[in-house]
Amino acid sequence: MGLSQFIHRVDNALWELAPEYKDGMRVPVRVYAGKALFEAMEPEVLEQAANVACLPGIVGYSFCMPDGHRGYGFPIGGVAAFDPESGVISPGGIGFDINCGMRLIATALTEEEVRPVLSELVEKLFRAVPSGVGGTGLLKLSRDEFRELIAEGAPWCIDRGYGIPEDAELTEEGGCMAGADPELVSERAIERGYQQVGTLGSGNHYLEIQVAQREHLADPDAAAALGITRANQVLLMLHTGSRGFGHEVASASLKRFLQVMNDTYHLGVRDRELACAPFAAPEGREYFAAMQCAVNMAFANRQVILHRVREVFAEVFHRDPLELGLRQIYDVTHNTAKLEEHVVDGSARELLVHRKGATRAFAPGMPDIPERYRDLGQPVIIGGSMETGSYLLLGRAEGAATFYTTAHGSGRVMGRRQAKRTFDSAQLQRELAERGIVVRAASRSGLAEEAGGAYKSIDEVVAAADAGGLSRPVAKLLPIGNIKG
């Protein structure tokens, strides 16, 4: 029987693949998507989610978010929780770019105030934030200083003047996962990462200047509580991760897990990219501690970039950046595994939640939300393409169904090579300029890869997450300037 015979529509924005579909599935797959998004998903997405459902110790469901697309091991948009005693940890459920994430920064400026200097701002931001292949960052650190940084995350940078304490308070985990252990990180990873703090990278990483128009505020009161108070207010959105350091931690762990999962732990998996180890085993615990170092590196990376952004705004507007209202709204990670407490079958239990291309979205009142936002719910930052806009969302109580998780972006519908053949970078840049969007890119062909047409409709993704009870929209943010890695 084919795949479609095992799928049924549970609700308007929820589909389920029965565990009878594939031998070894321990739980069903659940996909949050409207009809059009679901039908447009590649079959490989469901196959990958079904493979995840076969992993030992999985609890509840193998989830896929509305922006799900084909990944390596887990689909992008894949979410799975595991029992810490009987379950596994898998780098393929976290991604090579550990703590790839989003940071949203408010300004007190309006589009009318920024437009006259927009080109200058974009150019200066491009020069201040290194991007592209390799790339060396603002911070000139020794290897030992880098070890301190990966243990302490964003607060390490703030303590040295690269930010203000509020930045860390308004970052997921306070900008630091406490279990990070630099002793478990290889010298190769240190060598790849210690000079890259404060760099953007390339691919779909970017720094974007955006505008919140009143007609795009779904909840003006919540927007105001989050810091969006003026008509046509300008914001900045940052998308990057742990750079070569995180890539090395992930690749090395994948190799180590491949060696032990069959020989030592007798774990058969359906895809080598799902290489894993029992979380309770030394290999699992050591990877978790090394992964948290990469999480902290990414928080620090985004922190230093924020500092550079503040410096550039101060230079262009000849005012103190805090007078310009450059205050962080929030910073979220969308590639992690975390130990969290959730209610399963009426009982609270600790779970290891993998989110790969998926964002934690805690409900109002939950203790891990910064106090000033606790009554609202956790802010969620969803990055769209440079053409179509991005979203600020909030977590909600119904999100308990997915361990409080929602989407992370638009999700690709077109491979990078296909996008390069379909879109012309120079023409795209001209068209964006005609629409008032100034773009500066490290790689011209990379521009075509990130064309709006290469992605799903972000409006549909956000609507599906809303209909599925995962999150609710607060504001849509439209781009006016983009620095693309």
Binding site: E42, R70, A128, G132, R188
Partner: protein, 161 residues
Amino acid sequence: MPFAPLDDIPAVDAAFRAWGADLNEVFRSAWNAVRAVLLDREDDREDDRDTGAVAGELGSSARNAPDPLRKLELHERELDYLLLEFLQEQLYLKDAEAALYTVGELTVEREAGGWRLVAELEGRPIGQAGAQGVDVKAVTLDHLGVQQTAEGWEATVVLDL
């Protein structure tokens, strides 16, 4: 030596197939294919003086100059994992030394319990302007394979960008 992007693996970041008359050649072709992605090229021209990456004005000036020549020796039980480790070395050097390397002498051969690779690598600093490069996060295990064919050897590789 030849390689070509693959279109028959849907929605991946970058995939290619590389060919060679023997294992040495197919490994060299695969290295050049990764390098071509980093330089955003579709061929295997070896001159990268006119290209490279952008770093901001505070960028790569402080990087250590790469060693002009370095030796690499790898041992793996499986041939495809040997290829993975070989290609990962290029990504490591790209970040750790801000340099792109070409392959000089290269030998891939069987040894007791697996495979051995010995290579000489020659590096050049990544440029500071006029960037066209695309960063590569990792060589993945997705579709990874090295097979003998009637004409020689071919390798399939998928990269995460």
